[in-house]
């Protein structure tokens, strides 16, 4: 980003766009400071950056309209940007000032070294000056050795030749060194060197008098510049240096107070409040729309819309911030699984290595909790059915120790978790035979099934290939439960397998449950939301484009066939008259369906709530959300609906029977 702004500055300078160049220059300074860690990304700074962003378009607009409108605002923002960098300069001095470091030394530090110096101070490290002499002939190697040695005890911030040495065959370096250790323990570590601790000045010059004044008026000045729209940031943000000082004085307090444990319900509550705010926001924009129609209200409406925009942006940031707090690494559940694997491999006397990657991948706390059981089940399954007995592995020439890989990674708005084993794989023929024996499929169906569909049979309720169920898996509770659990979280499970080489189960989950973007559509005159994450594209739809392929309605989309389903039929509601229907294309895993809806009404962020127990069994509906006007809109379960479309006739009937037990 820094580079981009830099380029922009260069270009605008080239074309004589002085305002843009000026803005870019200030913006570049702030970004540079951020980049080098000289200032923190506080909400204050963020606001300023956003303001600067808005300013670009304003300058362009003013140029286009050939007016000088907004000149004051432009200057205001420039001023705030400049102040941020100045403030930083003051802050830097304040931080380093209490230490007895020669100004001469500070002057020659590179930007990075200066940054590291500050970082060390902030982390509460002690500072040392180390004087060490090297023979010129072996300078390179000795310095490397010294560096290695030093690395164990702390960090070398900078080294400079002292020049005080008179021997032409040696060179003396002064090394600025940050370390948590006391001077007594550093001395013996560097026997060839002289170590001095950099002391803090005794007369606690907490703030150089000079830096006090500008710092105090800077935030106030900035708030004034930001105009009446913004509220004043809380006092804690206004005086960041006070906090810094507190940290410096007592580093141990800092480490304790950096994290808080919060009940997830409190976060849910926060999320609900944000949801309510979102409702207020929508109502606000509706009001503005109504006001816009009246000419005498044009001016206040414009202001209201600007307010609304700013409100919306901050609300979005707030949502993101809360969502981020809810995120926890998957490692939490993976660690538990590692214990399970050890225990089960002992019980089954199979040697297994669990290889975990991506444990740091983050996902909503609620999802992590719900994942524990399904993952445990999948791992048991891999151990029990996948990995062969030791003798068998030896016989087929595999390593005696089997491997189960647990991989997690983020993919767009989804988290993918794979459970992969290097066992015997799934024998599709045996699978089919079992399914026939259990009456899950009939002979006709078997003939028309693809390998993918056959493998999918393992997710059927009541399915098992093993005649003797073990204690661990295959006793009633099967992979169908896993599939249902994952589906409840809005995810899908897929299976791939090579006979003889292994099986891979893949779970794809949304990162968070709480707030989702939905596409509002009308079906049977009723409003529904489709999770935008599942929507690929929306097209106009005419009946004439339909073709019947193998008994299913399809259209041809960019050369490929797309299965089409009329949403009202699927949802079993009466269609409403429509002039022009739309086709919403939804992809789940490798399946794609185009759903015909009567109308498209745009998109909205909603807080999704689950339906009550009494409606849990209704398939195809993921939950409901409240819109701005207190209407409740049902959110469709895109994943479930796509699967239904692809389900065989027989399955559909069975599923219906299960969902409506009257």
């Amino acid at each position: 980003m820094f580079r981009l702004v830099h380029t922009l500055k260069g270009l605008s300078g080239l074309f004589g766009a002085a305002q843009i160049a000026g803005l870019s220059h200030e913006l570049e300074n702030v970004l540079d400071d951020l980049r080098l860690g000289r200032i923190d990304l506080t909400p204050l700074v963020l606001d300023c950056l956003f303001q600067a962003l808005d300013l670009y378009s304003k300058i362009l607009k003013a140029e286009r309209d050939n007016t000088t409108a907004g000149q004051t605002e432009i200057e205001g923002t420039l001023l705030s940007l400049a102040r941020i960098s100045q403030q930083n300069a003051a802050a830097g001095t304040t931080l380093v000032a209490p230490y007895e470091i020669e100004p001469g030394l500070l002057g020659v530090l590179s930007e990075y070294e200066e940054h590291r110096l500050r970082a060390n101070i902030q982390e509460g490290q002690r500072l040392y000056r180390i004087f060490v002499k090297f023979t010129l002939t072996s300078f390179e190697t000795s310095l490397d050795e010294f560096r290695e040695l030093a690395k164990q005890a702390g960090e070398i911030i900078s080294y400079l030749p002292t020049g005080a040495d008179t021997d032409p065959n040696t060179i003396e370096l002064q090394i600025l060194f940050g370390s948590p250790h006391a001077i007594e323990s550093l001395g013996p570590l560097f026997p060839t060197a002289r170590v001095e601790e950099v002391k803090r000045r005794k007369t606690s010059p907490s703030r150089p008098a000079g830096s006090l004044a500008p710092r105090r008026d800077t935030p106030a000045g900035m708030a004034a510049v930001r105009g009446p729209i913004m509220t004043m940031p809380p006092p804690s943000e206004l005086a960041p240096h006070d906090t810094t000082r507190a940290i410096l004085q007592d580093p141990t307090v800092r480490s304790v107070s950096q994290t808080v444990r919060v009940d997830i319900r409190k976060l849910d509550h926060l999320m609900m409040l944000v949801g309510e705010l979102a409702i207020v926001k929508t109502a606000m924009s509706r009001l503005a729309e109504r006001m816009r129609a009246q000419s005498e209200l044009r001016r206040p409406t414009g202001e209201l819309l600007r307010l609304h925009k700013s409100f919306e942006r901050h609300l979005l940031l707030l949502q993101d911030a809360i969502l981020e707090v809810r995120m926890v690494p998957l490692g939490q559940v993976f660690d538990k699984l590692a214990r399970v694997v050890r225990q089960f491999s002992r019980e089954l006397s199979k040697d297994v290595n669990l290889v975990i990657t991506g444990a740091e991948t983050e996902i909503d706390k609620l999802i992590v909790e719900e994942l524990s059981d399904p993952l445990m089940h999948m791992i048991r399954n891999a151990l029990d059915h996948g990995i062969e007995a030791k003798e068998e592995r030896v016989r087929v020439g595999k390593p005696v120790v089997g491997t189960i890989a647990l991989n997690a990674f983020q993919k767009g708005n989804h988290v993918v978790i794979e459970v992969e084993d290097d066992g015997q794989g799934i024998d599709a023929d045996a699978l089919m035979a079992s399914a026939l024996r259990l009456g899950l499929v009939n002979a006709d169906e078997v003939r028309s099934m693809t390998r993918r569909e056959v493998l999918g049979l393992i997710f059927q309720p009541g399915f098992t290939t093993k005649r003797a169920a073990t204690d661990l898996s295959g006793r009633g509770v099967g992979l169908d439960v896993v599939k249902n659990n994952i589906a409840r979280l809005g995810g899908v499970v897929d299976v791939t397998s090579e006979t003889g080489t292994g099986t891979k189960l893949t779970i794809t989950l949304p990162i968070t449950l709480a707030i989702i973007n939905v596409l509002l559509v009308e079906v049977g005159g009723q409003l529904f939301g489709l999770p935008l994450a599942n929507v690929d594209e929306v097209l106009g739809f005419v009946d004439g484009a339909l073709r019947i392929v193998d008994g299913a309605e399809t259209i041809s989309l960019r050369g490929a066939s797309l299965r089409v389903c009329r949403m009202h039929q699927l949802l079993e509601i009466h269609p409403a008259e429509t002039l022009r229907s739309s086709l919403v294309v939804i992809t789940v895993g490798q399946r794609r369906v185009g759903f015909v809806v009567e109308r498209m009404l745009g998109q909205e962020s909603v807080v999704i709530k689950s339906l009550g127990e009494s409606l849990r069994r209704v398939r195809g509906i993921a939950g409901a959300a409240e819109l701005g006007d207190q209407r409740v809109v049902l959110i469709l379960d895109a994943t479930g609906l796509v699967e239904e479309v692809f389900a065989t006739e027989k399955e559909t009937i069975r599923l219906r029977a299960r969902s409506l037990p009257t």
Binding site: M272, G275, E276, G524, Q526, L571, E572, I573, K609, S610, L611, G612, E613, S614, L615, V618, R619, G620, I621, A624, E626, Q630, R631, V632, V633, L634, S659, L660, P661, T662
Partner: protein
């Protein structure tokens, strides 16, 4: 949104300790009663969002101060055919198992204080009463069929 409960019928106050408070309501001209402690709240019937594929006795969902409540038709649960143009409908929120359900009734009467001796067992009407029928209360001018609304759903799941 909450409608205040009608004032108590004080006629029998303090006379008997074994009185129960019952909310009287009407469906298709008949008066029914539910025990007050089972009722969480009484609401006006606002626009309910229908849920496709749901059992027919479920009318839909309604947001009550941000909480989703499933609304059921008490008529249908009592196997009374639907009626057109009812204007005084109310929703009784009642906890059933783990969730709160809203039972729609034609009209709410008032709170009755019913004495123990005023209640007859349901067997006076039929040999094999349904589990949701608690008895018949004769109080003053009104005869109420006492219901356990939660049990109306017993055979519906």
């Amino acid at each position: 949104m909450t409608q205040l409960l009608a004032p108590l019928d004080h006629a029998h106050d303090h006379a008997h300790s074994e009185a129960r408070e019952v909310l009287g309501f009407v469906i298709e001209g008949s008066a029914y009663g539910v025990d007050i402690p089972t009722i969480a709240e009484i609401l006006r019937l606002l626009e309910v969002t229908p849920v496709p594929r749901a059992p027919s006795f479920i009318l839909g969902v309604l947001s009550v101060r941000g909480r989703l409540v499933t609304i059921v038709s008490t008529r249908e649960l009592l196997r009374i055919p639907p009626a057109a143009s009812l204007t005084r409908q109310r929703v009784l929120l009642i906890n059933v198992g783990k969730e709160t359900l809203g039972f729609v009734v034609d009209e709410v009467l008032q709170v009755f204080r019913v004495l123990r001796e005023e209640v007859e067992p349901p067997e006076v009407l039929t040999d094999d009463p349904a589990p949701h029928a608690l008895g018949i209360a004769r109080t003053g001018s009104e005869t109420l069929i006492l219901l356990d609304l939660a049990r109306l759903l017993d055979d519906r799941w």
